[in-house]
Symmetry: C2
Subunit: 179 residues, 2 copies
């Protein structure tokens, strides 16, 4: 088994402040920043990267407002979905998928394990764990998914279904090496 964690450390999980709750997908968007009147953005308006960044900030603000009550961030939500869709995945592999260091997933998994949403199960190799959602984890994840879909629909409400697909397709072609 991997190095045993002390109970003291396991106990010191931080509770985060709950954000104000949002009501429905028709509720007003916070629209964090986006575009300030009377400001010249110059070259920024021509950059793909700035457009993505600006969108990401606005989306993040709405995500936080929508799921803060559940103590869920985009990062945490993604972790749950990945584990849910790839049962038995290891922490190292999860770190790779999330694009963060291995050390970073420890806290994430600790947190979900303590909340009873996720389990570290034995793998053949005693150095590693197989990650699985618990029944409760699956149940909670379904709840989160509904909230995230509501959030995502609200954020994308000015786009048709076709445009949303188009947008995802265009985004997916970024940072691709032609080889």
């Amino acid at each position: 088994m991997p190095k045993q964690k002390t109970d003291i450390l396991k106990a010191q999980t931080k509770t985060r402040a709950a954000a104000p709750k949002r009501q429905s997908s028709t509720a007003q968007l916070p629209t964090f920043n986006a575009r300030i009147e009377g400001i010249e953005y110059g070259i920024l308006d021509e950059l793909t990267g700035y457009a993505v960044r600006r969108a990401q900030l606005s989306i993040y603000a709405d995500f936080s407002a929508s799921l803060g009550v559940y103590d869920i961030t985009p990062q945490r939500f993604s972790s749950l979905v990945i584990v849910g869709n790839n049962p038995g995945i290891s922490q190292t592999r999860l770190a790779e998928v999330m694009g963060i260091a291995r050390s970073g997933v420890v806290a994430i998994i600790d947190n979900f394990e303590q909340a009873g949403l996720l389990e570290r199960q034995d793998s053949g190799d005693r150095r590693s764990y197989n990650l699985h959602l618990t029944k409760e984890g699956q149940k909670q994840l379904e709840k989160y998914k509904l909230a995230v879909k509501e959030h995502d629909d609200r954020v994308s409400q000015q786009l048709s279904v076709k445009e949303r697909q188009q947008l995802r397709a265009l985004l997916g072609k970024l940072c691709i090496d032609p080889k």
Copy 2:
């Protein structure tokens, strides 16, 4: 004049580690994460927000690799461009544009001022400053712009000019309240 800052505090600016330099717009993309083979992404593939987030992470990685040598981040670059295009802007207004707290811009401006790229000039109101780029700041900004354009072109190289415009237009429609 606003509260005077101590020289001690002014001196303790942090130097950041320079990232490895990149060569040209045809160089290989780091493509940070994007999409890991053999992983099921489930609902994440249907979400606008996740597509934006994933793109943003990849772009950020390339930006850092491209401009890390100059100690420039997207945030810092945006600040310079905004000040350059809106000479005389106040710190509070800049904070509003950047979507961060007023306290956050202090360090950013301190840093640029110490580097001689930017000046805090007197405004009519003695509580506030007018921010201006120095000659050196304008010169450096032009250099950064070239590097950022190269980076942005590399990141968008799989998209035609028309597709890039389309992408920016679609992103611009996100998080808009129909009212």
